[in-house]
């Protein structure tokens, strides 16, 4: 017997999923232990092992691979507990990152602020990751052609390094202008710093992200230096703990690009772990898509405070380099998951214009929604869901935790219903509808930005709170259909099990397309491919198993942003180059509504993705039944649906007793141990061979 394990250590819970060779899955949740995350991680594994009827040592001894997702890096930044950081910049540029890195309306990341936020002066400017007196500059300058204008002043570097040592810094970032074209100055500075502070963690911008644009490159490098010492320490600690517990297999880490990497490779650039939390969601959606032959998918994940949506057109997960963390750029290629403040804990409120708003503020886990009766008096989405009869107050998280409906009603009445002149139920329905619309809009934006049509896409996902809302999100976003996976409550952990090894390598390569030198281009690709191969070899991947995908960042001459287009496999020939240029025109037209085939284009950068594909999962089929699900009926209760406009008595089914082929006609409710699925009137779900719930098309 051989197991694969995924263990996803999140903000509140650590999820573990265990799968054996026959495709049998077991999952467990344990509370995350923030003081020493390894404890919660081991606890969740222990729980999963227990479910299998074996000891943790027995299970780990038979485990070939553990994929570990951790929010450690994200948390270090969120809590300000990273390293005491020193930085060296090009002379005259120590303050570069202290200016706004994005426009004020974009500080929250991809989520656009409304214009009101621009006129709100009651906010502090985001601050850099370290104090001004620890950001030093040294004499050196390279120009835009990569030529040295002022040689590196080594005495200067030594003096600044001595100063930073005297200040007790724990990690150093070296950020020089144009270092992506001329890395020697940064590398020489590193040598000098190492002499002054042997063994100190040093991050170079030409290593972390060797591309043009100093703000993104340097900011990412500061993030890397900020998290590096503690992440490396964590990696060692978890490795040791797992080994001590009997694990002899391969440990892999989930990176923010949706791929996995060995501890050694992650340690090279620990910033790869930032915002890696939701990165595995799209992978799970892809697995479901493959089972059902669906290419165009949207992965959605709704938890307590945030709602993540990632689009997967034609089976390709999108990658973004535009992540914003606390107002600062993190420009490593990361899974393009759009997060907004919308979850079970989102608070409903009324704005100045008398408009009902839900979120982005969340009541969190503490005090939590009013119905938790832990002192929260703000009405939340969960409160509305309880009032509407979707969530059984006595069966929340499988009954582990009782909710108080009367507290939910009180909060909604006082804060929403009375001010708007609505009944409590009307107000609850409005909260439910507004949050669905908000999530729907978020999903729709994921499409419209890329020129995609929501009607071609199927929603996959859930998360703790998502299954109550997925039908509404589907209607709002206008998607083709939706699927709630059987493993919805451990959505990301499950996705991690099957993530590929994936590493991105980029470099500048500028040429007008009309003047392309194919030999030089192929030589540049060969250099990147060699880097990708070397990394995969370090991860013990055989050469014949490596996948190497080439892309080209292109623009029309004079444009300031690039579109990344795939380059056909093999050495680039004039034919494949022409094909790539054509792909650029097509992609530009789809995304922006305009293109001109005769307009001069340029290549600005090239990239290679090194891939090692994981063996796909073997799903175990569940027992088959007829279409009638009445055998799984567990109860009935009153629930309110906007479409009907009043409370209706609906059937409640036990998810674990449902069989493949069962057809569930809305309105009804399905209760799984860790989540509740609401099937509104007019919706029908069928249970597939693996226990997933698939929308079966709507009745006329």
């Amino acid at each position: 017997m051989s197991y694969r394990i995924a263990v996803d250590s999140g903000g509140t819970f650590t999820d573990a999923v265990l799968v054996d060779e026959a495709g049998n899955f077991l999952s467990a949740k344990a509370p995350t232990t923030p003081d020493d995350v390894t404890i919660g991680t081991l606890n969740s594994l222990e729980k999963a092992a227990k479910l299998s009827g074996k000891s943790l040592r027995e299970v780990l001894g038979e485990t070939s691979t553990i994929v570990h997702g951790t929010t450690q890096a994200t948390n270090l930044v969120a809590t300000g507990k990273g390293a005491k950081l020193g930085a060296l910049f090009t002379k005259g540029y120590r303050d570069r990152l202290s200016f706004l890195q994005v426009a004020k309306g974009d500080l929250a990341g991809e989520v656009k602020e409304t214009i009101s936020k621009l006129f709100d002066f009651d906010q502090a400017q985001p601050e850099p990751l370290t104090d001004r007196w620890l950001m030093c500059d040294v004499d050196e300058r390279v120009d835009s052609r990569g030529e040295v204008l002022i040689p590196l002043n080594e005495d200067d570097v030594r003096a600044q390094a001595e100063y930073l040592r005297s200040q007790g810094v724990e990690s150093i970032a070296i950020n020089f202008l144009w270092s992506h074209l001329h890395r020697q100055h940064e590398e020489r500075a590193r040598e000098i710093v190492q002499e002054v502070m042997p063994g100190i963690s040093i991050s170079l911008s030409s290593h972390v992200l060797p591309i043009a644009g100093e703000v993104g490159r340097w900011s990412t490098t500061l993030f890397d230096a900020y998290v590096a010492p503690k992440i490396r320490e964590y990696i060692e600690r978890i490795q040791t703990k797992l080994m001590d517990a009997g694990f002899t297999g391969q440990l892999l880490f989930m990176q923010n690009n949706g791929g996995v990497a060995t501890p050694e490779v992650v340690s090279d650039t620990p910033a790869q772990l930032l915002v890696s939390g939701p990165a595995a969601g799209p992978g799970h959606a892809l697995l479901i898509g493959k089972v059902h032959g669906i290419d165009n998918l949207v992965s959605v994940d709704m938890g307590g405070t945030s709602f993540d949506a990632g689009v997967i057109p034609e089976g390709e997960v999108n990658i973004t380099t535009k992540t914003i963390i606390d107002g600062k750029k993190m420009s490593l290629p990361a899974i393009d998951v759009r997060s907004i403040g919308a979850g079970g804990g989102s608070i409903a409120w009324i704005d100045l214009g008398g408009r009902l708003q839900v979120g982005p503020q969340s009541a969190g886990a503490d005090p939590g929604p009013a119905c938790y009766a832990k002192g929260g008096d703000e009405p939340t989405v969960t409160d509305a869901d309880v009032v509407l009869g979707y969530i059984d107050p006595d069966y929340f998280l499988g009954g582990e935790f009782k909710l108080r409906k009367e507290m939910a009603e009180k909060a909604i009445k006082e804060k929403i219903a009375d001010p708007l002149g609505l009944s409590v139920v009307e107000a609850a329905a409005a909260i439910h509808d507004v949050i669905n619309a908000k999530m729907g809009l978020n999903v729709e934006l994921v499409f419209s930005k890329r020129g995609l049509d929501p009607r071609d896409f199927t929603l996959v996902g859930a998360g703790g709170a998502g299954a109550v809302h997925i039908a509404g999100v589907h209607e709002e976003a206008g998607t083709r259909g939706y699927v709630v996976p059987k493993n919805a409550p451990v959505y990301c952990a499950f996705g991690m099990l099957y993530a590929d090894m994936k590493h991105h390598y980029r470099r500048n390569f500028f040429s007008e397309s009309a003047k392309i030198d194919l030999a030089a281009l192929n030589a540049a690709y060969a250099e990147l491919e060699a880097q990708a191969r070397e990394t995969l070899r370090r991860e013990a991947v055989a050469d014949e198993d490596m996948g190497l995908d080439k892309t080209m960042s292109m623009s029309y001459y004079g444009q300031n942003k690039d579109l990344e287009v795939a380059v056909p496999d093999g050495a680039v020939t004039s034919a494949t180059f022409a094909e790539t240029v054509k792909r650029f025109h097509d992609k530009h037209h789809a995304a922006l509504g305009h293109s001109e085939a005769s307009f001069p284009t340029t290549i600005n950068a090239i990239a290679v993705t090194g891939l090692y594909k994981t063996v796909p999962p073997l799903f175990r089929k569940i027992a088959h039944g007829e279409s009638d699900p009445s055998g799984a009926l567990k109860a009935s209760r009153m629930a309110h649906f906007s479409k009907i406009g009043k409370f209706t008595n609906v059937d409640v089914y036990d998810g674990n007793r449902l069989r493949a082929g069962h057809l569930l006609e809305g309105p009804c409710i399905i209760e799984e141990p860790m989540t509740t699925i609401v099937v509104p009137p007019g919706h029908r779900l069928t249970v597939d061979d693996f226990g997933n719930y698939v929308q079966a098309g709507r009745e006329a």
Binding site: G92, S98, G105, R132, G353, L441, G558, P600
Partner: protein, 606 residues
Amino acid sequence: MVAVDRDIVDRKLDPTTLSVLWSRFDNLCDEIGERVIFGIQSFVMANVRDLGQVFLDHDGKIVSCSAYIPCHLFGAKISVKNVVDKFKGTFEPGDFIMGNDAYLVASGHLPDWTFIRPAFYEDELIGFFQLRGHQSDTGGFFPGGYSPGAYDIIAEGLNIPAFKLMKGGKYNDEVAELLYRNIRNPEQVKMDNLLVNGACEKAEEGLVRLCDKYGVDTVKACMQEVIDIGERAMRAEVAKLKDGVYYGERCSDWDGVTDKPVYVRCKATVAGDELTIDLSDSDAQCTFINSPLGNTDQSVMTGIYAIVDPKVPKNYGSMARNVTIITKKGTVTDPEYPATVGSCAISVGHCIFEAVQVCLNQATTQRQIGGSTKHCCPIQIGYDSRVIDPRTGMALSYWAETFASDGSGGGRKGYDGWTGIGTWYHMGSLLRPDIEHYEALFPFVNMKYEILPDWEGAGEFRGGPGVHTELLCRTNPGDPAFMVSGNSDGMVMAPWGVAGGEEPPTVQMYMQSPGEERRWYRTMCQVPIKSGDILTTYVSGGGGYGDPLDRDVDRVLKDVRGRLVSLERAREVYGVVIDPESWKVDVEATGKLRQAKKAPKPPARS
């Protein structure tokens, strides 16, 4: 006085639908901006976000504004109305209208072109999408439209009355040929313009989907409801202001021709929930910095919105129903043809924005904020014969700006001013480009990009710090190159301090050739620059809020340790004594010093 719900129509909209559709209107505008920023070749639109998108109703009334630069948004109240009046009854699906005429469209200076696409549902005109943005060229005697000294508006740039570049989806060949023949790098500008059309067309498709889903009547009702909510919110906010008549004046350095400051004078009258802004007493029109009506209007509104609750919806309802704006023909705030307008926004427009705030700060202390710097960052224009631009087949003609030297924002109760945010006139929506992107395109190297110590307006909450930049010219000897400060202002009047906060110093600039004396350089100028020359700028920080002697000592310590404030200034201005060895505050000495400094002060300043 309490706000009166005048003319309130019950449109029978449920709160969910209203909330959803309102967000969708905002988003349609945002998406136009995102597409355009992605694809546009204009350096300032792509890298600096020098654009703005607005959604208006069938009558040209603003429904919703995106979170972009206010000067490209609120001016639509006048400019789109002018265009709608011109073409009333002739709009058809697939039209795409553009124009920049300072007197006919009246939105502002010539390089900011206004684009309007009517949006139809089936055959019904539902509304308009407007985008206004800074083109990389607009014709005229120098590229970029920011060169002072044009003889008249004809010399300053091409005057384009609103016309249909696309008529019913068909490209208007003849007019377009005439237009682009008079523009530098015509292929680029043309493609940029068509890209805007593509982006607006996609927004129109989005609006059609909304009508399909919610019903066209519901969408239209929501548009009007949103406008009414804007009015109610603005009336409620004006009612909170103290009734009275208030005066304020601010000045621009000069117009580049006549050597004297140019004043904007504002009289604000608050009466119940009605607000009147009267600019009639401003200086007579001059050259270069005159503000066309649309620009004047948007500057007033930006000033008002900065004082009232930020959540007041920015639309026709809050702009036009209880706010009256009075100007006098022949003044800098309402110039007559053919006066030039090149720097209307950053100079006179900015002064209007400030003067309105100076007035209204007397009517409320709710949202006082220290003044911010004006825009100050000279432009580079010229040819680079070493680079052949494949779009023209000729030597690269450039019009460049680093946006590195912009100063900072003012302090506000509870918050220090924002570092290098530039003018609050743009509300933080202007973005600093990467210097590597700038240097990749233009033959200049930015050698210094730093905070300037001791140039903040002191205060309990200080203004943001000053900014120090040095730009080295590396042009090809023999290629013409100019440094243009027509877009810069702030040498005469510093940003204000409030509630006892102080003013920062005013702006300074100089040029220096290797081995030569400094040549002090003024705003509103254009001078040749040659390889090896360095332009140095010292730009003000923001104005302070509150007495600097009340500033939290730990904040002072942090500023001193970070060398934003010198030890001497900490002692003299903030009354804080710090030991630079241990980085500790001498609490006792500080207490005594602050007491001594406070004692001789005259009783309460007004």
